[in-house]
């Protein structure tokens, strides 16, 4: 389980340290406050434990700095000399940290420090679900990505790799079966794949993913990740804006599944702009569920974070404030100068 992430002069951040919950971490904040960067930083440090890729290479492929110049990831300033981020995780009751540093003036701009060897010895299954759906684009994409140097953040190729993992050999346990049933009910079918192409299969036949609503594709993706055992006890799930293309009704199912996965031991990291998803967590979570809301905001141009376990204590709550701003304009329009 991850315990903490810290940034120093890295991408959008000057200096930021975020405590992480072992359950569900929900990042909210205006555009440009670094939500996706946090998710990506978490993901790359987990992915290397199973892919055994170098962290620098993974960061390069996931963050995609222009011309693969990694020093571009140092926060822009008058003297952008160096920057780093570090992640701390708990292994066998002991906290270990790795740090990825960038220095602008060295021939080799990247260095790794901390308990890197120990970090790699303990694999951490991880998934990053990007904003755009890739399931419908899966045929041929993997081979194209592997053969050609196409300009795509690697999270898009990785998610396709995850869905093509073989089904877990062990039989599906009762709790996972329950989750699969909920999703099957919502999608009205199961997912099958043929030659890298996905279909929703039910009594009516097989419907290709390209003809499915994007919201249903998202449920299908979750179904596969649960069914093939990727989202199992101890796994890490990073999901960038789950609300995209999902109607509020399906959102309640997604939140139900995410809470259940957390109860099964999956550590979850979400970014969201959506009121419904926040309220869903507030309403569906039980007292025993472990949630942490992280509000990212700008203070004198620096990004800061405020973390709280309780929905009502989220401050600043940019999502609620966006409704507040609409209400403000309505009040101004309706009331004019009355009361002022």
């Amino acid at each position: 389980m991850l315990e903490k992430i810290k940034f120093e002069k890295f991408t959008a951040f000057d200096s930021l340290e975020i405590p992480l919950s072992t359950g569900i971490n929900i990042f909210i904040g205006a555009n440009g406050t670094g939500k996706t960067h946090i998710l990506k930083a978490i993901y790359v440090t987990c992915d290397i434990t199973t892919s055994q890729k170098s962290l620098a290479e993974k960061i390069n492929r996931v963050f995609l700095p222009s011309g693969e110049q990694m020093v571009r990831l140092i926060k822009k300033s008058k003297t952008p000399l160096s920057g780093y981020f570090e992640v701390t995780r708990r292994i066998a009751n002991k906290s270990i940290t790795i740090r990825f540093s960038l220095k602008n003036h060295l021939k080799k701009p990247t260095t790794l420090s901390g308990a890197y060897k120990q970090w790699l010895e303990h694999s951490l299954e991880s998934v990053y679900i990007p904003v755009k759906d890739m399931m419908a684009n899966a045929p041929g994409f993997r081979s194209l990505y592997n053969l050609r140097h196409i300009h795509f953040e690697e999270v898009y190729a990785d998610i396709i790799d995850r869905v093509f993992l073989d089904t877990l050999r062990a039989p599906t346990d009762r709790k996972r079966k329950k989750l699969l049933t909920i999703l099957q009910h919502a999608m009205a079918g199961k997912i099958i794949s043929k030659n890298e192409e996905f279909f929703l299969k039910n009594k009516q036949g097989e419907l290709e993913f390209t003809l499915l609503a994007e919201g249903i594709r998202k449920l299908g993706l979750l179904w596969i990740l649960i069914q093939n055992g990727t989202l199992n006890n101890g796994a890490i799930l990073c999901w960038d804006e789950p609300e995209t293309n999902l109607n509020p009704k399906l959102m309640s199912i997604v939140v139900e599944i995410l809470l259940e996965l957390q109860r099964l031991g999956v550590q979850i990291f979400l970014s969201t702009h959506d009121y419904v998803i926040l309220k869903e967590f507030d309403l569906q979570a039980k007292n025993t569920d472990i949630l942490l809301f992280h509000s990212l905001y700008r203070n004198h141009d620096e990004i800061e974070v405020s973390s709280t376990k309780h929905y009502l204590n989220i401050s600043p709550n940019v999502i609620d404030e966006s409704f507040g701003s609409l209400v403000d304009r309505e009040i101004d329009k309706s009331m004019g100068n009355i009361g002022k």
């Binding site: 309640s252 009121y275 419904v276 209400v327």
Partner: protein, 176 residues
Amino acid sequence: MKIEADGFSFSFTDAIDAFIFDEKYKNQSHYHGLSQAMKAVDIIVELENDYLFIEVNDFYAPDDYNFQSAVNDEDKKEKRSHFNHLLEVLKYKYRDTWLYRWAENKTDKPIVYLCLLTLDNAMISALNNELRRQLPIGKAGPRWNREMARSCIVVNIERFHRHFPNWQVTRIKQDA
């Protein structure tokens, strides 16, 4: 001018008059006397150019009305029904109050309906749209020459503080 209603204390510095509209005590000058027949808003404030009808509701369980965040169809139906009931209550309180004031010959200035509800901004936004349509505000009917309500606005405490610096509202502390 200070006044208390539904657990809140108000102060209207620019008011000509402010009183509890639904006054239940006969010895008070603003005794309502028709509570059994007509619904009523909590407070009426007379300003120089307008009347304010103010309704105050401090909710114990605000999420009961939050149909936008229902977890399933049944929940949505129930919450939508609570929400619609709240809309009906707010609507008829205004209309009955307006009738009462019309009979008093006190509809001589434009009337603004202000609902102070302890709900979040998203709920407030949804209520604003529907209440305005249902009240209705302005010269809504095709044959109307007068308006029944100049405007209507639903606010929470935070919005009240932000938009009405001439008026104060504080929650009255309850004894333990």
